[in-house]
């Protein structure tokens, strides 16, 4: 059982359409679990474009470190701390080669081998496979007979690429069913499909297109066998208008010239109804308010809304 219902699984895949606040949500979950005394590891996929990391910016950094490093400064109870790291294809390749090749000299030769390195960089899906293996090794790390990370939160890429990644183990298993790689792919797939171990958090906004797309994403995830543990609707407007208030305002606005505030009003009026469309869609609904905060100050301010549980 998790300290923060409904976010129970140890591995949380935070995903959603671009621009909905995946990184903010991932960072807020990190703060929430660390405040509850857990050792949290926040991950994102590294590679080209490492300079533009929204997750790193949420912790006042330009980029996440290549090896797990503490990225928060708050004093926390127990093991409470937030570590951050990049998932890197190269690290995955290296760890994989170390694991499969008999003896150090062959590993060294393979790592030095230019042709092999070029293949790993260029062949379709080898990059993704490396990232996947890096993640698998991180999830297995232990320290004093317990998992080194109580909670692993992954800031996934936007919709289409999340699905490409979650479908990868099954696809690769058809490709490479035998040998050590087959075993590891099976282990990874089992972990991804175990609902007590892994859960997806689909982040969305209270707007038409994002709501529709988040349902499609949830269906895609279900197809690839990953369980959905919650929908998070981010940036819920702070002001809520009653039916009566809407009636008088709608009539008054119809006779008014173009006004500041009209667009925001229409958005707030629709927000609740749109968010409610996700209710009863098989996963709890968590609403995060739109706060007048940005940068590293925003994620911790969202903790109360995450820990409050489903609304």
């Amino acid at each position: 059982m998790s300290a923060i219902a409904p976010f129970n699984p140890r591995i949380l895949l935070v995903t959603g359409k671009g621009g909905v606040g995946r990184s903010t949500t991932a960072a807020a979950l990190g703060h929430a679990f660390a405040s509850a005394g857990e050792a949290v590891l926040l991950l994102e996929i590294g590679g080209v474009g490492d300079d533009a990391s929204a997750l790193a910016r949420a912790f006042g950094r330009v980029r996440l470190p290549t090896k797990p490093e503490r990225i928060d400064t708050a004093a926390r109870p127990d093991r409470g701390a937030i570590f951050g790291a990049l998932l890197l294809a190269n690290t995955g390749h290296e760890r994989f080669l170390r694991r499969v090749l008999p003896g150090g000299p062959l590993v060294a030769a393979a790592l030095r081998n230019d042709a092999l390195q070029r293949l790993l960089n260029a062949a379709p899906s080898f990059q993704e496979m490396g990232i996947f293996y890096h993640l698998l090794t991180i999830l297995r790390e232990t320290e004093n007979q317990r998992f080194r990370w109580d909670r692993v939160i992954i800031d996934m890429p936007a919709t289409g690429h999340t699905l490409a990644l979650t479908e990868l183990p099954a696809q690769l298993l058809r490709l490479l069913p035998n040998g050590f790689i087959g075993e590891e792919l099976r282990a990874g797939r089992t972990l991804l499909e175990d609902r007590t171990q892994t859960g997806a958090v689909v982040v969305t906004l209270p707007e038409r297109l994002p709501i529709t797309e988040s349902r499609e994403l949830a269906q895609g995830l279900a197809k690839s066998g990953v369980g959905l543990c919650a929908y998070v609707v981010n940036k819920m407007p702070a002001t809520d208008f009653s039916k009566e208030e809407r009636k008088v305002l709608d009539a008054w606005l119809a006779d008014s010239p173009p006004l500041f505030g009209r667009g925001d009003y229409l958005r707030s009026a629709d927000a609740k109804g749109l968010a409610r469309e996700l209710d009863g869609d098989g996963a709890p609904l968590v609403l995060l308010p739109e706060l007048a905060l940005s940068g590293p100050a925003l994620p911790p301010a969202l903790i109360p809304y995450l820990t409050k549980g489903p609304s």
Partner: protein, 378 residues
Amino acid sequence: MSAPVVLPLVDDARVLVCCGAGGVGKTSTATALALLAARRGRRVLALTVDPSKRLAQTLGVEPNRREPTAVSRERLQAAGITAGTLDAWMLDPAKVAEDAVKRVAKDEAAQQRLFQNRLYKEVSRMVAGMQEYTAMEALFGFLEAGRYDLVVLDTPPARNALDFLEGPTRLASLLEGRVFQLFLPPTADTGFFERKASELLLSVLSAAFGTENARDLQEFFSLFLPVFKDFGLHASKARALLSSASTGFLLVTSPADEAVADALYFQQRTVDLKLPFRGFLLNRSEADAAGRTLPTLGEDDAQVPALAQAFAKFLPLAGAEQTRHARDAALLATLAAKAAGGSGNDGPTAFARALPTLVTGASELEGLAVLADALARA
């Protein structure tokens, strides 16, 4: 009002590439650009590499087609297009690979051997990794065939867009010289050192994938080599075209800090890669006040308690929206300064323009036509 800057691009460019972070309205902007160009009488292809299927759906074009599909006459007319034509296509890596095999394979038997190869079947269907190579291949094919005056390319969100541009370089580095030969079974001509290197690779691959898989992999490499070479060759030509003055890179952003940071990063990258950066499009912004004023309640209205009470809740929203307007207008000025500072190549000075938030309630196609109008004025 300054002279339109988007129209000349839409009239003259052969390729327009829209890049940006996710969720900034990149696909809508790309589609609206394509609509506008078709409206100006050009033969246009809207090509999307993004796994999100929105563009094709909006235009009423089925995904997973072998080739581009023409947008129906009714839809074209609804979007104000009478002279030009508009086709749309969502990249399908497996189909592009299949066409390449058919073109490259020596004979029917060679084709069939490749199509029957277990690895080929799986690899060609993978979105991850194959997309970047096949996108360049498809782009090259369309331009080479001369079927279109303009291809508008909607790329995956910022970070992946770079993969797509740099993929060909990685492929070229693998295919270059004798490197690739090392993955193939040695022949009688293979020299001592190459044979040793090849053996090392086979033992690594066998350890990683199992001996049987490693042999399959070798067969796959030897069969697929000509196709990869073809991809590589076309990709470098496509890359050269993307660097030329007949291409324009447009960076789409929303006013959100993260999206702006991505757009600025991307501008730097396009300039570094010597790609023709043409401008920023600030989407979904309030930069244009569009005649809006702060609301006031007339004396009579203020006497109505229900309205007065509701208005008190409305007023803070108006204040917030006006603040955003001021912030977005300042952001647009900043982007314009950044654009003028670095436009890559020796093309015209890059610009920054704001586009309105799409009207909610309008059908997607109507919304796109409105966006196309705004682009024509921008």
